[in-house]
């Protein structure tokens, strides 16, 4: 394999650049999703978005537009959920209905039927210059927003009620997190597809959370792992003729046991150097009242 050849292809350059933007989304949005327990929410949005994607395909419009519209609407609807039914049930319904609608629309689209597999599992060939620009705009906006409102965002993610007592507009922050989650999911579908997008947003933050214990380090480490995952995945797919999305996901997943081993090793070393255990006997946390 020769890196010069690799970069000579336009579509691979685009995929590489999109992958690097994706890693910023892994770090910022992925970490927020994991700590705010929004992973299933994100997975639901990506599948629901397929409905919009199929509709736009049927109408001859830009499929990304439809996917984005549906994901944003679904995110807002779920965000304002009035708890008359459990939220995960609503997510499950949106998930399945979106997929069903998408497949029906594509079924009825006359002429050339697109490769369903590329929607489900991604296709780097589909990433054009316009998509690269869009993903970078989103990544830049998300990074800037976190830098501007870092303390508010972390406070809302950790303890919404306490943040509200301090006058933080928690509703606006939460809505922003949901919207950014929806948009990230839609833009990353292009890279790894509807089914695998959730791995891109969860594996890097979980690896980072295993190794680091303050929020800033977790965000930075998740971004770095995201970059390794997307770039490494592309290189692997180029070198061994693998599908690129699955290559990224499997490479990222391989980091998880490594991170766990590093953590255990650190804990053992920490326990042997500090004579009394640093961990005071803590009573189990039980819900009260």
């Amino acid at each position: 394999m020769h890196l010069g050849d690799f970069l000579a292809y336009d579509f691979l350059r685009h995929a590489l650049l999109a992958g690097l933007a994706a890693s910023v989304l892994c770090g910022v949005v992925g970490t927020l999703m994991v700590v705010k327990r929004l992973v299933f929410f994100g997975a639901g949005l990506s599948h629901a978005a397929f409905g919009g994607l199929g509709l736009c395909h049927f109408l001859g419009l830009d499929p990304t537009l439809g996917a984005a519209a549906v994901a944003v609407l679904a995110a807002l609807a779920l965000g304002g959920d009035d708890r008359r039914r459990p939220r995960d049930a609503t997510i499950g319904i949106l998930w399945a209905v979106g997929m069903a609608a998408g497949i029906v629309f594509i079924h009825f689209t006359p002429g050339y039927a697109p490769d369903l597999l590329s929607y489900l599992f991604g296709n780097v060939l589909a990433v054009g210059g316009r998509e690269v620009v869009l993903v970078w705009v989103l990544a830049g906006a998300v990074a800037l927003a976190l830098a501007a409102f870092y303390r508010e965002t972390v406070a809302v993610a950790f303890d919404e009620e306490f943040a509200a007592v301090q006058g933080v507009p928690t509703g606006a922050v939460t809505t922003a997190i949901l919207l950014v989650t929806a948009l990230s999911v839609v833009f990353l579908i292009q890279l790894v597809g509807i089914v695998l997008v959730i791995a891109l947003l969860t594996v890097p933050p979980v690896v980072a959370l295993t190794l680091f214990r303050d929020f800033k380090s977790v965000v930075l480490a998740a971004t770095l792992f995201g970059a390794v995952m997307t770039t490494g995945g592309l290189l692997l797919s180029y070198a061994y003729d693998l599908p690129s999305g699955p290559a990224m996901v499997l490479l990222g997943a391989a980091f998880l046991p490594v991170a766990t081993l590093i953590r255990r090793w650190r804990q053992r070393r920490g326990a042997s150097t500090q004579a009394p255990s640093p961990r005071a006997p803590a009573p189990p946390v039980r819900p009260v009242g």
């Binding site: 303890d159 943040a163 933080v168 303050d214 977790v218 961990r279 006997p281 009260v288 009242g289």
Partner: protein, 292 residues
Amino acid sequence: MSEPASRPTAATHRTSAVHSPAAAPPLVEARRVTFGYAREPVLENVDLAIRRGDFLAILGPNGGGKTTLVRLLLGLLQPWSGAVVRRLERGGAFGYVPQFATFDRTFPLRVRDVVEMGCLGRRRPFARLSAAGRAAARRALHRMGLEAVAERHVDDLSGGQIQRTLIARALAGEPEILFLDEPLASVDAEFRGSLVATLEELHREIPVVVVTHDLTPFATAVRQIACVNRCLHYHPEGKLTADMLEEVYGCPVELITHGVPHRVLATHGDAAHDPHQHHHHGDPLAGGSDGA
């Protein structure tokens, strides 16, 4: 939301002003507040005033609306009718120590990060924590005896240390009034005494409001008691009597050294009720979601 009720409070209503001779207007006041989550009200026509120098215990059965009342006073909930009036001098700084169970131990934060969350206040975008905020957080850590564990992850703390961290977070905002929701739950017996002593010390500076189902540990500290079970009964003397418990639990009870739990000596009017179920006398459905 802080507007007084448009209609004047009728003189016949049980207002704490009747009991409290203090001339200064209360810092926080609930006026004829009614609130519920669903159809049924959890609180009805509640009047309560908290003044400088108060050490108030909010007592009552599960589902009686204790936590709901605190949320209303903090402005986290808006009353169906009535009003909550706040007269805080320094921009409305409330210190709030929520129930322990809401704490997410897996969250990637060190003790210092949690405490510094207490001084969010108003700030410009991109601005770092101000020197004053950092100093306030440092003082709060010192006061709660957390300096040695300040750089540790919250998951490495004991229950008592977590409770201290949450109090330090509330103090970092330099509050004018401190609310604590069941501060002794999930805390070992050894730590209880020192926590109550800490609260008594804080009470010399700011009013302290404690939501609790067990008054005993606070017996020496408490000055006022509010019994909440849908309605509110205010007792400015800070002493618990059997009559008061009967009033709030709706049945004659035996007063042990613990205010609650208590033994039921007679069933109350509503014969359909199993006397042993009297703890749910309020509205278990309406108040159940938040453990109030």
